[in-house]
């Protein structure tokens, strides 16, 4: 329509000219630039603060945890030609005596109580470690062989310089004789501190020197697998229904609000639900990754649904129209075009949801995944722990060796989280389409 000529007040009222380069204007501009700068500074301070805390966290964890990545081992030499062994029954041979005789050869005469102190310097499972190696490869029995045996936790602490030998003898866990014997072994070059593969290859143990994360890692793997297999298809199906098929009415609005709220429900509540429903009603096995995975799936579902819906709506409607316009049915438009195009975002969101599930502790405690289990689970129905619950168990253990191992386990967990988020970022960078 025709524009009016009255915009900006009466056309006859004269407006004084604006003096842009006046003192007053310059001051005004300066104040506005100042506000910009202040905002920038606030942001930088906030980020520095956050990064500082992250650095402190990683720093302390590394500082306490790095020692757990090595383990003091003693190398012992056994001459089997002298030992009397029934080769047909290696399982029940007297490995204890063989081991003790071998380590006694390394030091001079000891009194009875000194012998006891000496033997306790090695992990109490040492005879069994030797037995298992020999059963795996009986050819070792021909002649002499050397074995690496972990030293017990107090001696490991001593070897790592964590025992203050200036303290009176009765205030430390390593007595003077043990220190002396340790130094003897060390001078002989029998003590080494190799990388602690046991941390990744062993399952949990009462003895810190033998405790490892393999049970927790495989437990977490099974958990996430179950969680993914349930939450991914169900989440995508729910999102597609809500986004593409559901009528917009009060009932679907209610569902939507509930799903969004579900993402904010404290995880311990999901644990209680799992305890009551999956263990109580369905009678599924306690401590099993299956149940843990189902509980975590409940937690991950809302994340996946929300992410998927966002991804579906971000595909431009022109693609949908293009497909419908040549006679594709609704499901063809969705499954041939819209869903494949939104898959990168969905995968990214799913991985982030799974990373969140990986670190979840409270619901697993409630379904008994914090049990003491010394072998890795072979499937989803076997009792197991998970990484976060293993951290919880170790953090609760009194032995000194578990302090470092707790931090080390946290570092391992953080490592997995960084890896998963890295994959998510990679997928996003590589495949995500900008419209």
């Amino acid at each position: 329509m025709a524009t009016t000529d009255t915009i900006g007040g009466s056309p006859t009222a004269a407006r004084p000219p604006v003096v842009w380069n006046s003192e007053e204007m310059a001051k005004r501009r300066k104040a506005r630039y100042g506000a910009d700068r202040r905002l920038q500074i606030y942001g930088m301070v906030a980020i520095a603060f956050a990064l500082g805390f992250l650095a402190v966290l990683i720093g302390t964890l590394t500082f306490t945890g790095y020692r757990a990545f090595t383990q003091s081992m003693v190398t012992i030499d056994i001459d089997f030609s002298a030992a009397e062994l029934n080769r047909d029954d290696l399982m029940d041979a007297n490995w204890r005596t063989i081991f003790r005789q071998a380590v006694l050869d390394d030091v001079g005469e000891l009194s009875r109580s000194e012998e006891r102190d000496y033997f306790s310097m090695f992990t109490s499972s040492a005879p069994f470690l030797i037995r298992d190696q020999i059963i795996a490869d009986p050819s070792i029995l021909d002649g002499r062989a050397t074995f690496m045996v972990p030293m017990s936790d107090p001696i490991d602490q001593l070897a790592k310089g964590l025992v203050n030998t200036d303290l009176p003898e009765n205030q430390r866990r390593v007595n003077d004789k043990q220190v002396e014997l340790f130094n003897q072994l060390k001078e002989k070059g029998a003590v080494t501190q190799p990388f602690n593969w046991a941390l990744f290859l062993n399952a949990d143990s009462r003895f810190p020197e033998l405790a490892g994360l393999s049970g927790a890692i495989s437990g977490s793997f099974w958990l996430l697998l179950v969680c993914f297999l349930i939450s991914f298809p169900v989440g995508i199906a729910a999102a597609i229904y809500l986004e593409e098929f559901a009528p917009k009415n009060r009932f679907t609005d209610l569902i939507e609000i509930n799903i969004n709220n579900l993402a904010a429900v404290p995880s311990v509540v999901f644990g209680l639900l799992g305890l009551a429903v999956f263990l109580g009603w369905f009678g599924l096995p306690r401590s099993a990754p299956l149940v843990g995975g189902m509980v975590l799936a409940l937690m991950t579902l809302p994340t996946i649904i929300i992410v998927t819906r966002a991804a579906l709506t971000s595909v431009p409607s022109s693609i949908r129209e293009a497909a419908l316009g040549i006679g594709a049915s609704k499901h063809e438009a969705i499954f041939h075009h819209i869903l494949p195009l939104s898959m990168p975002s969905i995968m990214t969101g799913t991985i982030i949801g799974l990373a969140q599930a990986l670190g979840e502790t409270a619901p697993l405690l409630l379904i008994g995944m914090n049990a003491f289990i010394t072998s890795p689970p072979a499937g989803v129905l076997e009792a197991s722990t998970a990484l976060p619950t293993q951290i919880y168990i170790w953090a609760d253990s009194p032995e000194r060796g578990f302090v470092a191992r707790t931090s080390a386990a946290i570092l391992v967990l953080l490592g997995f989280l960084v890896l998963m988020n890295g994959i998510a970022i990679f997928l996003r960078q590589r495949f995500e389409r900008r419209w």
């Binding site: 022109s318 693609i319 293009a322 419908l324 316009g325 040549i326 063809e332 075009h337 389409r433």
Partner: protein, 271 residues
């Protein structure tokens, strides 16, 4: 006089005037978007093997009418269509009508070129594939080639059929979309401002193409360009704020319109 003879007479009259048969017909079509009414009792015939141009100022309802013809308005939740639209005498809004079949018979080309982010070949092959129009790969290759040829794109893309359709220029993308529509062998092709995102050279190519396609297809085109309507169409329908103002042979509409609003619009006095 009985009805049969009346119809027969009318047919004869039409044949005598050398008017092509009516392919699609809108009878008192009303469209509501929620509370708002967008079309008021539109009666319009679309004749076979002709280009019908729908013109009118923005918001006049011409795109709305176009989208009723293949029921693309179904995808808008709040859209409600009443009245009757027929294709070869069949009511397309009849609940028994299969909307997939309808959209295969009445194809559509959109304002913004919207190739699938797939290869050029896949873009054209998608329609025939979902409708099961071919028995083997060779036949499909044939359809892809002939569709691209009809869309005057074959020579430009024949060596790079496996490259992404989104990598083409805007004009090529739009011709690819036309090829994609043709590949399904539709009877009617609806075009919603197909050249509005194209430069003049690409526009000229698409217009030329539309003129050629007329031989085999019935075309309805929405356009904002008077020159384009004059160049490519045989019949023109003028819309204004939801009403069909006037409809007739393009030549007459542009030289001697009956309605003053048409004259004002064509001469650029409003719109």
């Amino acid at each position: 006089m009985n009805i049969m003879t009346e119809a027969a007479v009318e047919q004869k009259v039409q044949a005598g005037l050398n008017e092509p048969a009516v392919k699609m017909k809108g009878e008192s079509v009303d469209v509501h978007y929620g509370e708002k009414q967008a079309l008021f009792g539109v009666n319009l015939d679309i004749r076979e093997n002709q280009v019908t141009a729908l013109i009118g100022p923005s918001g006049c309802g011409k795109s709305t009418f176009l989208r009723c013809l293949n029921r693309m308005n179904d995808t808008i939740d709040i859209a409600r269509v009443s009245g009757k639209i027929t294709l070869d005498g069949e009511d397309v809004y009849d609940p028994k009508i299969d909307v997939v079949e309808l959209r295969a018979r009445v194809g559509m080309v959109f304002q913004k070129p919207n190739p699938f982010p797939k290869s050029i070949y896949e873009n054209v092959a998608y329609g025939p594939r979902i409708h099961g129009l071919t028995k083997n790969r060779a036949e499909l290759d044939g359809i892809v080639e002939s569709s691209l040829k009809k869309a005057a794109l074959w020579n430009e893309v024949k060596d790079r059929l496996n490259e992404s359709g989104t990598g083409l220029s805007g004009g090529q993308q739009q011709r690819l979309c036309i090829a994609r529509a043709i590949a399904v062998s539709p009877e009617v092709i609806l075009m919603d401002e197909p050249c509005s995102a194209l430069d003049p050279i690409a526009t000229a190519k698409v217009e030329e193409l539309i003129d050629e396609l007329r031989e085999n297809y019935t075309i309805v085109i929405v356009t904002h360009s008077m020159q384009q309507a004059a160049r490519v169409s045989q019949r023109t329908a003028m819309f204004h704020i939801g009403y069909l103002v006037e409809e007739g042979a393009t030549e007459k509409m542009f030289t001697n319109p009956d309605d003053k609003r048409t004259q004002d619009y064509i001469t650029g006095r409003f719109g």
